[in-house]
Symmetry: C2
Subunit: 444 residues, 2 copies
């Protein structure tokens, strides 16, 4: 890590001195077909006379969604995205939820174009400070490699075209920025062939979107808050692999017609600034929860895992409610989901299901595969009509647990679909490209 | 106070020794018409041969509802009803909300009958520990007076018949136990002609229902938490009279179809036991809020009053949400009311309305009379069709503030009635009796 950081600082300095002039050039070089790298200007490229002949470098990756069981909420430094507390998440299976991102660069891309992103078929903004921080950091790392080894292609000087797609609807309100930034960082890191570890890349992903740092790993992932002012120790590491606890499952109740709430970035800072109860959460509640959570995962103790999960979710939402003006991410449908989980646990006589809610009304319910009848079966009795159930699982279920009318009615009216999933891997390199060999977006 | 407490302790001892045998007598004396007081058994009553001739002593009082602006939530001693923190309330006007209670006792009431209560036309249970605590304490005080002055009628030995009525529906979910216990205590105290001050009586009302102690006063009332183990300093005192701030008003949005939630007594102890954030509330948040609230009332600073009110309500509900299992008293209609208040304040460019919620979904919105158009007018635009508006006020209103469709829709669908009211007096002696001179309930 030490070597990498030294390289990193050198790279940043290098970038500032060398590349900045390149990006402030108002016009491309006279000949549109020849992109002359200002770094090795004594070696004009003459091999190719058409833009299409310039190699298009590409790297493609899928990245997962993660759902925190000990929540991130609050920054101690907004610029570097440093949190007020540690957090811990479960990486969901990419078979069900994933972002596919291809990063590409080429000397044939006009410098004037700058970097670009097409997300789910539409041009997305990359000018924001957060995305720029990711680009800048990744480029700096690449530039440092290029400076150390002049034979490497000067990828750092080329515009980057990113094309990204989610296999789940944005309207599902499911942590898409975490998967998105993790995919962006991983894809560019692969494009640049950076030797960085996932933890080292998580430092960069963190600057794009805090929770994205946890999507650099599969299984059970902690984001250590760190204490360095420069954020160099605020990164993700893996608590356990997905295969450590193979029975873990999750079912997501997607709540329909959910009005977009307060943005997380804005909301959490309002909480930091105005909640009288917040300090207690970050000083005492979360550290205890982190310790208990790691232990429960290592020991595969579902009851403990579940209780910490539910209580941390409640604690997080309580600090939102204690914000001024108060922030309410959960609604009556969310609360009905809580009542359903409580009914399931009461009927089972022990904790077999755990709810958790992010900054939105969707319920994520964790359970172990052996309790599928109790958990999924009970929910299926009420919500069997909606989309998302995996018939292979539900067709054999026959739960005897019924929810009270009020709870069932609210769920029926308010849940638009379910997503059944499990725990999965971190980013996976793929040969499925969203950018063609000629640099154009693939028509899909 | 000191004399009264000494008398109090003597009275309790006296009661234990003297009266207990009376109440353990399995049968009434042989002659049904003659109730012989065991205390002065050497003076048999012979004046009257019919039960009807025995004097029926009566006292009737009305008592108000109070709505806390710094909330009571949590007991440090469940038996004595001692709170974890101080609280402060606004006494609402009895013209709109009040309990009328008549306390009566008579030697003609059969001893076997014991004490009784008819509440809103139905027999109510008085055997519970809390109600018994009130009867016992009040009787003890009366017994002490009688012991010191043998010429006084031995009211302490007679069964008590209470008849009580609210002028507001119980379904409104409006703090009726506070008004009820305050009325009970005040009526019996008047019946017994106790010299106790309202603060001294609040010590007794507190044992019936914590928040009832604040209904012994009008205007703005604090319940000082106290620190004595015996609760002798946990009582109410008046911060300011109603007339101190004559412009203060309140409008209550009664939320329909509200399922009965977790009882306050049970809920608050779950919060004490399980909420990680609760300690911070009682140690730091509430003491600060009490100080700021008293100051804002004394200075008639509505903006400060409003902000503390809203923030304390949010803090209280946050600790409920942080309880395990979580307690949710507010629902989506409650939150729509919050959004409405926020919209009203935003449109006004300053804080002109304050919401607060008790252990239920009803919204109580405080405002000053001069802002009636902004506050009531805006709510009336959306809720004009429902019952409870005072035409004299609403007919001239013409607010230009409109609520967003979502908020308005939820309010329209969820609010069943409104109650417009103001700040009023503490218990008021009345000649309106619910018990007739012959001891029977008055037919109404």
């Amino acid at each position: 890590m030490g070597y990498f950081l030294t390289l990193h600082r050198f790279a940043l300095l290098f970038t500032a001195i060398v590349l900045l002039p390149a990006y402030s050039l108002p016009e491309p070089p006279a000949s549109p077909s020849l992109y002359q790298s200002p770094i090795v200007s004594h070696q004009p490229r003459r091999e190719s006379l058409t833009m299409a002949a310039e190699k298009v470098y590409r790297a493609s990756t899928t990245a997962p969604v993660n759902i925190a069981v000990v929540k991130y909420w609050g920054k101690r430094d907004a610029k570097l995205n440093l949190p007020t507390n540690s957090s811990l998440s479960v990486t969901l299976s990419q078979s069900d939820l994933r972002t596919l991102t291809t990063a590409s660069c080429s000397a044939s891309y006009p410098a004037s174009e700058g970097d670009s992103l097409i997300l789910n078929g539409e041009a997305a903004d990359v000018a924001g400070a957060r995305t720029q921080a990711c680009f800048r950091e990744l480029r700096a790392h690449r530039a440092a490699l290029e400076a150390a080894d002049p034979s490497l292609p000067k990828l750092s000087a080329m515009p980057v075209r990113l094309v990204s797609e989610n296999n789940f609807p944005t309207a599902a309100g499911l942590a898409s920025s975490a998967a998105g930034f993790a995919a962006l960082v991983r894809a560019i890191a692969d494009l640049y062939e950076l030797p960085a570890s996932p933890s080292e890349l998580s430092l960069i992903a963190r600057q794009g979107s805090g929770s994205a740092c946890r999507s650099l790993f599969g299984g059970y992932v902690a984001w250590r808050m760190g204490d360095a002012a420069d954020g160099s120790d605020s990164l993700a590491d893996q608590v356990a692999e997905a295969s450590h606890w193979p029975e873990m499952r999750a079912v997501v109740l997607v709540v329909s017609a959910a009005k977009k709430g307060v943005s997380s970035t804005s909301g959490m800072q309002q909480t930091v600034a105005t909640s009288g109860l917040f300090q207690e959460r970050i000083t005492n509640v979360v550290p205890r929860n982190m310790e208990a959570m790691e232990k429960s995962i290592k020991e595969r103790d579902f009851s403990a895992f579940a209780q910490v999960t539910m209580r941390d979710s409640n604690s997080f939402h309580a600090t939102c409610a204690d914000t001024y003006p108060p922030i309410f991410y959960m609604n009556d449908v969310s609360r009905a989901a809580i009542r359903a989980v409580e009914a399931i646990n009461t009927a089972a006589g022990r904790t077999v299901a755990a709810y958790t809610f992010d900054a939105g009304p969707n319920a994520v319910i964790y359970y172990l595969e052996k309790e599928t009848e109790a958990v999924v079966g009970t929910l299926y009795r009420t919500l069997g009509e909606i989309d998302g159930w995996k018939a292979a699982t539900t067709q054999s279920l026959n739960s005897s647990v019924s929810l009270d009318e009020g709870t069932a009615g609210i769920l029926k009216a308010g849940v638009s679909r379910v997503i059944m999933t499990g725990v999965g891997e971190g980013p996976i390199k793929t040969d499925e490209y969203l950018v063609a060999e000629d640099g154009s977006p693939v028509k899909r």
